[in-house]
Symmetry: none
Subunit: 183 residues, 4 copies
Amino acid sequence: MPKIINNLRSKISRAAYQLFSEKGYSAVSMKIVAEETGIAVGTLYNYYTNKEELFIKVIEEKIKNHKKIFDKYLQKEELDLEMFITHLYDEINKSKGVIDEVIKKNINSKEKKIVTRLRSDLLEIVDQILIQFKEKKGIKKGAKAERKRGVYALLIMILILDRRFPGEREKNISYLLKMANLI
Amino acid sequence: MPKIINNLRSKISRAAYQLFSEKGYSAVSMKIVAEETGIAVGTLYNYYTNKEELFIKVIEEKIKNHKKIFDKYLQKEELDLEMFITHLYDEINKSKGVIDEVIKKNINSKEKKIVTRLRSDLLEIVDQILIQFKEKKGIKKGAKAERKRGVYALLIMILILDRRFPGEREKNISYLLKMANLI
Amino acid sequence: MPKIINNLRSKISRAAYQLFSEKGYSAVSMKIVAEETGIAVGTLYNYYTNKEELFIKVIEEKIKNHKKIFDKYLQKEELDLEMFITHLYDEINKSKGVIDEVIKKNINSKEKKIVTRLRSDLLEIVDQILIQFKEKKGIKKGAKAERKRGVYALLIMILILDRRFPGEREKNISYLLKMANLI
Amino acid sequence: MPKIINNLRSKISRAAYQLFSEKGYSAVSMKIVAEETGIAVGTLYNYYTNKEELFIKVIEEKIKNHKKIFDKYLQKEELDLEMFITHLYDEINKSKGVIDEVIKKNINSKEKKIVTRLRSDLLEIVDQILIQFKEKKGIKKGAKAERKRGVYALLIMILILDRRFPGEREKNISYLLKMANLI
DNA sequence: AATGAATGAGGCTTCATTCAT
DNA sequence: AATGAATGAAGCCTCATTCAT
């Protein structure tokens, strides 16, 4: 007794994202995703080939989203570092759980490549924003490789601090600002 | 045809630790742990109530071990920050896989408490070492809460950088030194 | 956006027959049949109650078709045994995959009866043709039951030899001729 | 609550063989095999890697068995063709259902090779017995390829006739004798 | 105390079938 | 009459755990 459901793909995506964030890849069953979405298990497979694809697509979407948001900063005249970091902090923490999984390696190599590329895109954008900021302040930019490490550390630390010290948003951001200045 | 085995508990612990480090909690089966230890699956259950307890106990031991090692720094006359960070880096990276799992939360709350306590112990010790170092240099120590955040960030970043930039130990350490100075 | 399709029933039948022949009953999904026919899955169920009925009806049609073709031999003045066997060989091998399934018994008893009847029809016709041939040659016909066995063996062997020795049509036919003479 | 079971491997094999014979590969579920054996599903997997291996091993065993039995005929002084065909008939019909599957192609290529080899072995042996028989009677043996076709036809027909005319063992055998003489 | 075969719940996935549009 | 998304039972397989030996 099928019922037509609107925007099911995005409903599934939302539920899956939520669950993966909370529990991590292997602790989430397709059954749970289906239940949380309010559909039958089989229906999931009309939208995603398998569990892994579901996971990858969920991440893909999230990171694309981040990228889009931060791209806007590159066009801005004024750039306030604190405001940017704050924004970064809030945005990234919307998807914290999923990103955990990206850091982990229990994804097979084909998917890993996709994830790696997505991550690179995101790092690149943050790097460019920070460079632009330094140029405005007249600060010399460091070596590319070192910046990369610094940006990476910054993004990861956003996730980690928010999880570990969830009630201390301001203090976390203030620490992250110091980290941003190391770059 | 049972065989008596000495120090079986520590043998299991070693094998399990190795495996959890490499593959993560859910990718390790009790069968593999038994095989790697060279015993039967049933025997595992004479030493650990279940898989989760095995995991927790393994972590417990490792962190206790770290603690012991770093405790020695507190008695030392001379304290070279770079040397300490280097040591920290190498020690922690020996158990990176396991610690990943600790960061994740797919452990139930009872066990989580234990892990939390263990982690606090480790943080505490590193904090004290850093304080001691600052005192020797005549630098004023910051607020407890802020130090805690910094130390935590430092430890996590050790794991993360080593995984992401595995061939760049020196550069990683050099970045971590800068982070340590933020504390 | 429904579209009206002419002769859909026969289009489905053709596609299904092709697929069942190639892959066998259980390896063919209703989805594939629909795709191959160029229609939606649901439409299949407007023409056939379920998968099993589709299968049965497809066979039914094929065997009827054989029957029709061989019926013509009964009216012929001249009858060359070799030519007949050759024709039989080629005709039957067009539907080999489906007939495999008929030989197997994973069909429930109701359908089995239908298939049995269809098969009997076909056997009957070949029997009559062979009798007619013998009469012309002045050879005495054997007992009904024995002829039945022989004809059955002949038909089955056509399928089997063509599959096992697919490149050896002439030699297969020559062997089958010998079998036909046993009848 | 495990209970130790003796000769479980052969018990599984027997049950599986029976079921595959009756229903064919895809209509037999691992659950049914387990139930019929009187064990849990998981236990099956302690003895066979997967369903396909179970199937292959069951066949393997049966054909090996046939081979062993017929090997004895090669040493015999006296050889009565009728007796041999009768024996062949009875032996082969013990495993009829499974052999069906060997004829079908729904096995992947790796396993198919094994099955093909096993079948060749069996054909070879029957061929040699028939040659030996002919030599004793002073009959010239035909070309290898033609004998192969004839022996294959003989074996298949044993299966087919017994299934189609199950109550007519003697008449089936008598027909098969005629087929054997064609070789 | 050690063994490892047996257990069975639970995970992923497929697919015949239904029915709102 | 046609559509195809939704359904959910059922299949294969894994693995933590138990317990007779």
